[in-house]
Symmetry: C2
Subunit: 151 residues, 2 copies
């Protein structure tokens, strides 16, 4: 059984390796030892913000086998509803198909509920067809278009 | 010409009126005087978080004619890229078709750029066909599915 906990700086190499380990991530990330300082700075920015939570799934030996980022976003609409947002979901390639992804997302949803969020949202690249089916099976509805503008 | 500024507590009635003033918002919001305390609490939560910014567009007489919320989100992926997220975009019904929406979104994009974000993202309800065309015209690409799970 996996356990879920807040990530620490020492988890960074394992997390970055997972971010890079897919067709889309491969071209976007930089693997180095020590890790690129831009990742360290980003980790510190996440740590400083009480509404950001970087989480990892670990196995019995505390090896990182999954990760995601939760953002708790206050807002006015829907009577001041807080939103939980899930980003950067990754599962170690050795664990794919094991059910860990579903377990991790259900855990994330519970964290959002515990923080008082009334809605959980995420976007998923339309090219990741498996991921789209995965989120639908977990009860998410693709009611929105997810727009991006990259500089 | 509209001006854009950070919202203050005294803008809340005008913002909530705009949130309620469309087919989808009508059933979700509560208009009252004074405003429902849940909106006040949400406004205070936004104010406390330096990565959240509620903004209004105002006319020459400082009347609120538009609003949106910006979230600046740190993250590890894409070499520690910060994301700017735009939420709760509304234009007063008297101003629709005036070009104010485009002006406001371009202003929001500039704020994200100034904060060091490398990407701006938003989701838009698939039922709002005009809004989908509007964001495409502004250069956004609907590369992602926007999933929601409401409790």
């Amino acid at each position: 059984m996996a356990e879920f906990r807040k990530a620490t700086a020492s988890d960074l190499p394992a997390i970055i390796a997972m971010l890079a380990d897919d067709a889309l991530g491969l071209t976007r990330e930089v693997i180095s030892d020590p890790v690129d300082r831009r990742y360290v700075e980003a980790f510190e920015a996440i740590e400083r913000d009480p509404n950001q939570w970087l989480a990892v799934a670990v196995d019995d030996e505390d090896a990182v086998i999954g990760c995601l980022q939760l953002s708790f976003i206050p807002g006015l609409s829907r009577l001041g509803l807080w939103r939980g947002q899930i980003e950067s979901v990754r599962i170690a390639s050795s664990q794919r198909g094991s059910g860990l992804g579903g377990e991790m997302i259900r855990w994330a949803i519970e964290q959002c509920r515990a923080r008082g969020c009334g809605l959980v949202q995420l976007t998923s690249d339309k090219r990741r067809e498996d991921a789209l089916r995965f989120y639908e099976k977990l009860g998410f509805e693709a009611t929105h278009e997810g727009f991006k503008l990259t500089f």
